[in-house]
Symmetry: C2
Subunit: 521 residues, 2 copies
């Protein structure tokens, strides 16, 4: 068996069924093997950032890794920003990078690069295969590395000669899946410490993140909070949060450090449940980076690498809390908006029309901030955030989530600036016939940077700086761009038009883009 | 003076007048300083790969660095592929990467990354500034590093707090420009060795590359070759070659190792003049990576880091060669093509219509191979290649070359697959009103990969692999995409239509895109 095929067969045995790729010559024996191992579905991306972001979306929804195949150092480089986001999301993701043949590397041919140096910052696990006969084991080791709970990015570098060499003795064992849970589910004394804090009578806040944001964690947290008059907050950028009618609704930690500090104000015990202690997204002159209030004690009930939802349930059971005491979000039954198209009316329309089982990929940035609140009482859905802050995630993430969950509607909230990073995603959505609605919150500017300039004490931008933060002229025409990439699209300039567009998009099962031209503020 | 402003003032003193950027919050004090230092023209890119590729194009044409400002690790990552190409091109290019504030980094906020590990593989010079008061010197050191002949990529990482801190004593010295030429122009004994080889009576080939490909080098090489019946070849992927009527025309070393070996067949002395000994672009089973024929002696007259054109002139002078003996390319006066639109008829049309002083950014790949030959007798022009093989260079490179040379027509030869890597470039071309004509050689596939699969012994791709190498369905509609990005565009499906489109595009001074739908072979 040639090495390229043995990698695919090994991963198939592990359960890998999807590959996002933009391959090159070094990976051609992996490409060729797709016809021999047809249980893996290869999905072509026009740019590597689409492939890595899609694998992140797929992994967040399925909790198992998709394979990503990338071409040498430059192909990897193009995918790094979304690997960064996936690493921050703790998504299981398996990256195979084709390198030059081992004996070719010393010749420093044009594409030769230091792949190791580029890959390591975004990989939790990294290995370079040395022999064709090791590829089955290496691929399986990489797969297992991705499943270290809750998920990891594993990168395997494979030289082209290893993939084209035939190793007659190759056998692929059948495997029992035992996602490795290296850490214990939680520490017993962390449970006791948390209960002690809750019983102290002092103000407690549960900060939920990572795997705590699934139903059982949310329900247990709500029971605990109600029992002890504690507050619950959701981390700023959750990888996946289950939300909507019938689940406890969470307030999310604000992007703005000042707001986050006011959310935490008065807290004497901050109990971390799958979340890290809150820090400011950026630093600002004379403002703290660490947002925990003075005099507040931080307790870690369970990290994201443990089982934070299970730990919350264990507390609830230990204390004998009544399952019926969780606060469940009632349906909001929002009215449809009319009038001007603003971030608020867009949010209202989405709150009214989001269907049961939707998946929201949220890269709405400044213009999207009202949608989260407006959808609290929408039907049950999952909410995926820009975990690593590297823009250009929303469209690929939506693409991969739709591949993972073809029967669910995916809504991608995008801003105009971020959308242009990985707009090529639309073509993959068209090619694969994915049920994704993209809403471009089009304000014709990098609004967040103007805001940040003022916040940083830089005042209003001068005319040159201001022009540099404007995305017009020329106006980006997302309807034309989407059509050019094979995706039908429509434009809305009023709330009524937006509602018509969104209803149309929600009624169909195929990719559609709405260019929502927001009123300039 | 705040640190952000002192960086800009220092670079202005050095002669920097152009900045390509997609900035973020960490760089906001550099952005703010643009209004205080208006001699630097900031140009916005919608994606970092556009900024780095444009800086490469600018640097190749002006021989001085443009400034590129990037945002943290992910912003850098998005620009790495074209930094790789720039490093291979030996382009002077200055990258400033904004990092989190020094005191913020330990908090591991979402965008925190190992910038150093990402930057070093594509940087010839790397430094992380430590104090605001060092920024003037650090920026000047970075600038000087870019000018180590013929050019280098220098990367300076500056933490946000250094840019917002005010350092009252900042002064920016005025500077004499002395591009550092670290190596000697050439080695005297290399001259003697070369002359000895030429006089040996054995078959000699001059392989020209890098700075040898300018007029004086070409003329001297032609005189030498004519005098000794030597052959001249041009390296496979020159950063910039001066070409056209009145200059010696060069045969270029082929991408295919087999062809390159036949070009070198019989050579007993390979004389390297600004080029490296030829190696295969990729490795192939049972084919050599090193392409120098057996029994051939390799002589280095001068490296690209020395003065290869000067060395050729020195030989010509030493030997007293008559300047009139160079072979000058006559005008080709090609007819306009008719009939089917194929790579050949596209090439013929461009050969007939390329205007005087054009700059060609060549990322035409498989479909573009005939254009080089067809333009040998076109009016004088410069030819820029994909030096590092990382696709997605052509459109940004054309953008930057046009910023550098606003009075010259830039022709960007693009293939459909490569174009989709950095298609955002078109928006910058529209915004800046650049005189760039983009020709998309649209064959609806990654044709080169099908070709490589066969070459690698993988035979014809199976149906799954074949689909993965097809860029259709859906067809990419580059007219729609260009229009959506603010660039006028037209489609051609016959040679006659292509000629009409190309004439129109050449007659105007603004960005235009031609979607050339090639017949499927």
């Amino acid at each position: 068996m040639r090495g390229g095929e043995s990698i695919l067969r090994a991963l198939t045995a592990c359960g890998v069924d999807t590959c996002f790729t933009n391959p090159g010559t070094s990976e051609i024996y992996l490409v060729q093997a797709f016809d021999r191992v047809p249980t893996v579905r290869p999905i072509l991306a026009l740019f590597e950032g689409v492939a890595t972001g899609a694998a992140d979306g797929y992994g967040r929804m399925t909790k198992k890794p998709a394979l990503v195949v990338l071409h040498l150092g430059p192909g990897l480089a193009n995918g790094i920003a979304n690997l960064h986001n996936a690493r921050r999301a703790r998504t299981p993701l398996l990256c195979v990078i084709g390198d030059h043949a081992t004996y070719h590397k010393p010749y420093d041919s044009p594409l030769e690069t230091d792949i190791d140096s580029l890959a390591k910052p975004v990989s939790n696990w990294f290995h370079r295969s040395l022999r064709t006969e090791d590829l089955v084991e290496d691929a399986m080791s990489a797969y297992n590395a991705t499943l270290r709970a809750p998920g990891r990015v594993a990168t395997l570098v494979v030289s082209a000669d290893l993939t084209w060499t035939d190793h007659p003795g190759t056998t692929v064992p059948s495997i029992e899946h035992n996602p490795t849970q290296v850490k214990p589910a939680w520490e017993e004394n962390a449970l006791e410490e948390t209960i002690k804090a809750l019983r102290s009578g002092e103000s407690c806040t549960l900060l939920l993140g990572g795997p705590a944001l699934e139903e059982k964690g949310l329900l247990a947290a709500s029971r605990i909070a109600n029992s002890f008059k504690a507050k619950i907050l959701c981390e700023m950028l959750p990888a996946k949060q289950q939300r909507g009618t019938g689940l406890p609704a969470l307030e999310r930690l604000a992007y703005l450090g000042e707001l986050a500090m006011s959310q935490l104000d008065g807290t004497r015990h901050l109990i971390l449940v799958g979340a890290k202690a809150p820090v400011s997204f950026f630093a600002y002159p004379d403002k703290p980076s660490y947002l925990v209030p003075e005099g507040c004690t931080v307790h870690t009930l369970a990290t994201a690498d443990e089982d934070p939802a299970g730990a919350l349930e264990a507390i609830s059971e230990t204390l004998g809390l009544d399952p019926a005491t969780a606060t469940l979000q009632p349906p909001s039954n929002m009215d449809l908006p009319t009038g001007r198209l603003t971030p608020e009316t867009v949010a209202q329309a989405i709150g009214a029309l989001l269907p049961e089982g939707a998946i929201v990929s949220d890269e709405g940035n400044t213009s999207g901030i009202f949608v989260y609140q407006a959808t609290a009482g929408a039907p049950r859905h999952d909410w995926l955030c820009l975990t690593g802050g590297a823009i250009g995630q929303g469209l690929p993430l939506a693409t991969g989530a739709s591949v993972a969950c073809p029967d669910r509607k995916v809504l991608c909230l995008e801003s105009d600036g971020s959308a242009m990073y990985t707009i090529q995603s639309l073509w993959t959505q068209a090619r694969e016939g994915l049920d994704v609605v993209t809403v471009i919150l089009n304000n014709r500017s990098y609004a967040i940077l103007k805001f940040e300039l003022a916040r940083l004490g830089g005042g209003s931008p001068g005319p040159i700086a201001n022009h540099l933060l404007e995305l017009s002229p020329p106006d980006l025409d997302f309807v034309s761009i989407a059509n050019g990439l094979g995706v039908e699209a429509g434009r809305a300039t009023t709330a009524e038009e937006f509602v018509v567009q969104l209803k149309k998009a929600m009624a169909e099962q195929r990719p559609y883009l709405i260019d929502a031209i927001l009123e300039r503020s």
